[in-house]
């Protein structure tokens, strides 16, 4: 009995250590989105130039929906040229990049768009309604929507060429009826 107790106390520490080992390895910011596989929430915004921007207008295309902000240093600054480059490369293949600027000032956001010479549609989400609809908790976050208008992948952090291509190529390869 006494010998058992001597072992039991150090053994009781093991589950706690296991829990801590698990907890410290998991990124608390990496939260699975419940939207994956579900129809992407519709929205209607206006671009900085004033033209209407809605998801419905791009039905049948693969949509890369990027949430950004001009104060988001450095991740948004890293991915902006990558998004622009890939948008130019893929735009003729049924892919559209849509930028949504959140929690930002208009002048600062317009300067950002000008600085990077962004030519894909960009709009400001003034009320936060679109970002909350998509369960956005930080910038940058990027959603990849398939041709049926479902949210398929979510990427947290700056988009790289590899991430863009892997996700978009996969969605383009799917037999999609617009």
């Amino acid at each position: 009995m006494r010998r058992l107790w001597r072992w039991l106390i150090p053994l009781a520490v093991l589950p706690v250590l296991a829990l801590l080992a698990y907890g410290f390895r998991v990124d608390p910011r990496d939260i699975p989105s419940p939207l994956i596989g579900r129809p992407a929430p519709a929205f209607g915004l206006a671009t900085f130039e004033g033209t209407p921007l809605s998801l419905a207008a791009h039905r049948g295309k693969v949509v890369v929906l990027n949430f950004w902000a001009s104060w988001c240093q450095p991740a948004c600054y890293e991915e902006a040229p990558i998004l622009e480059r890939n948008w130019r490369e893929y735009r003729d293949r049924g892919v559209v990049v849509v930028g949504v600027d959140i929690q930002d000032r208009r002048e600062a956001a317009e300067k950002f768009v000008r600085e990077f010479g962004l030519t894909f549609p960009n709009a400001q989400d003034l009320t936060g309604a679109v970002s909350v609809d998509y369960g956005v908790y930080g910038v940058p976050e990027t959603f990849f929507l398939d041709r049926q208008g479902r949210t398929r992948f979510k990427h947290v952090g700056a988009v790289t060429d590899a991430v863009f291509r892997a996700n978009v190529d996969r969605l383009l390869a799917e037999p999609g009826s617009p």
């Binding site: 939260i31 989105s33 419940p34 909350v132 369960g135 956005v136 930080g138």
Partner: protein, 156 residues
């Protein structure tokens, strides 16, 4: 289609427009208490361990506005809460719902307290039994010796 049918259809259309949360106008003033009650249950997504009710961030204030709008559109607090859970997952709730795997969070502390109480009870019993079994027994000292000890102690 008859005129009555058409009229019915139009009124139905307007009714559904009024019910839909996007187009509805604030029907009744929403009390800030209800907004606070819902906001206090939600995690501010850009903060560390702050509720939407307590955070001064822009994101939290936008979320409070969304809560207010949805309540004003006639949604019940539980429905507004569910709207956020559908977007962010259960992660958005500051206290996890009491079911499934989450039950562990609620039960483990109770079990730990129970185990602690039992352990203390067992130890206390063991110690008192130890004392009982080893109560100092009277040592027989002969009267002369006892008298000598008394004298020496009092003589000091």
């Amino acid at each position: 289609m008859s005129r009555l049918g058409l009229r019915l259809l139009t009124s139905l259309f307007f009714l559904s427009a009024a019910v839909s949360p996007v187009t509805a106008q604030p029907a009744a003033p929403v009390s800030e208490e209800t907004v606070h009650e819902v906001a206090a249950q939600l995690r501010c997504v850009v903060c560390q361990n702050l509720s939407v009710a307590d955070s001064p961030s822009e994101m939290a204030s936008q979320m409070r506005a969304i809560i207010r709008d949805r309540l004003a559109a006639g949604e019940r607090p539980a429905e507004v809460r569910q709207y956020f859970v559908d977007r962010y997952g259960e992660w958005i709730l500051l206290s996890p719902p009491r079911r499934g795997f989450n039950l562990l969070v609620w039960l483990v502390p109770l079990v730990a307290v129970g185990v602690g109480l039992v352990t203390v009870a067992v130890l206390v019993r063991r110690w008192t039994r130890h004392l009982r079994d080893h109560r100092p027994t009277r040592v027989d000292v002969d009267p002369a010796m006892s008298e000598r000890i008394r004298r020496e102690v009092e003589g000091e």
